[in-house]
Amino acid sequence: VNRLWLLGGAAALAAVIVVAAIVISQSGADDEETSSAPSAPRVERIAQEGIWLGDPDAPATLIEFADLQCPFCAEFANEELPGVIDRYVRDGSLRLELRLLAFLGPDSVRSRDVAHAAAQQDRIWGFSERFFRNQGPENSGYATDEFLERLARQTPGLDVEQLESDLGNQESEALTREAERMARTLEVPGTPAFYLVRDGGRPEPVEIDQLDEALAGG
């Protein structure tokens, strides 16, 4: 009987340990502010500012036009972007700029608006990374408020209450208008579309599989 009591004590102690671990885990998720934020494998470890990822002094900027619902954009984000980050962004030779469009339907609009609110906390890259990993079938109505809030909560450093109050504000609207204006000016044919800017010059269209050559070509 004594052993059973001891075992019960061990179970209670184990429960205390687990609860403490859960509390630590939850509090940690709320105050990730720095580049040491652990959860995303890539973008959280790199400087983010507004819609940009990487060193502000990088000699080149790659502009990506994307729609969060676009499957090819997700394919790029999940499969090729990590390589681009590892090869060029980490060492400061390239900065990424994310210009979100919303032409595929209502889910795109709602998602883009949340992403633009996240940009005001310098977390658009973390949010969109999670969105692309969790992307659902086009216009199936999956991008509900609950879905978007869950992704926001999973994005380290993103204050969800602040995000909600920033939704649709002037800065968000400005990002939306600017992306649309740039897309019109550059005659973006679809998404994803990529443009390379070197030394403050004009954006030049670039095929992502030829980025190595384009950057090497100076």
Binding site: R3, L4, L6, L7, A10, A11, L13, A14, A15, I17, V18, A21, I22, I24, S25, G28, A29, S36, P38, S39, A40, P41, R42, P82, R133, N134, R150, R153, Q154, P156
Partner: protein
């Protein structure tokens, strides 16, 4: 069941757990996607979620340490070793249960490796508890306390 058999069961389960947690730890630090039957989507989603780390320490690494500690508890003689093994396995079981809940209801994805680890930890909790609580027959090869 004799203490010897229970010790062997704990050792085998701990080694299996070390294998699973070791693989997930390696995948985490190598920035790779875990190999999963039916595609790595679920595993990748779980591994890249906020729940994949606890205060900056990968959960897979915590598992690796936990399984190693349970295995090491076999080397501690008497009730101290049995109690430590049971305590660690019960804590591991509780944590695995919480992680499984998170996979199902927060992340909406299941990682087969995590499920395998949860099953192993559940079995370990049962075996180590039995080893501590149940009387052991004489001649099991270990000192009775």
């Amino acid at each position: 069941m004799s203490d010897r058999r229970l010790r062997i069961a704990v050792a085998v389960l701990s080694l299996a757990g070390l294998g699973v947690a070791g693989y997930l730890t390696w995948v985490h630090y190598a920035d790779l996607d875990p190999i999963c039957a039916g595609g790595s989507g679920g595993c990748e989603k779980v591994q890249s979620s906020d729940y994949a780390e606890l205060a900056g320490v990968p959960v897979a690494l915590l598992g690796l340490i936990g399984y190693g500690a349970i295995l090491a508890s076999l080397a501690v003689p008497g009730d101290a070793g049995r109690f430590t093994g049971a305590l660690l396995a019960l804590a591991g079981f509780g944590f695995s249960a919480w992680l499984t809940y998170v996979e199902l209801f927060e992340i909406d994805a299941i990682c087969q490796w995590c499920v395998a680890s949860a099953v192993i930890m559940t079995a370990l909790a049962a075996v180590t508890s039995l080893r501590f609580a149940a009387p052991r027959p004489a001649g099991s090869g270990h000192r009775r306390s």
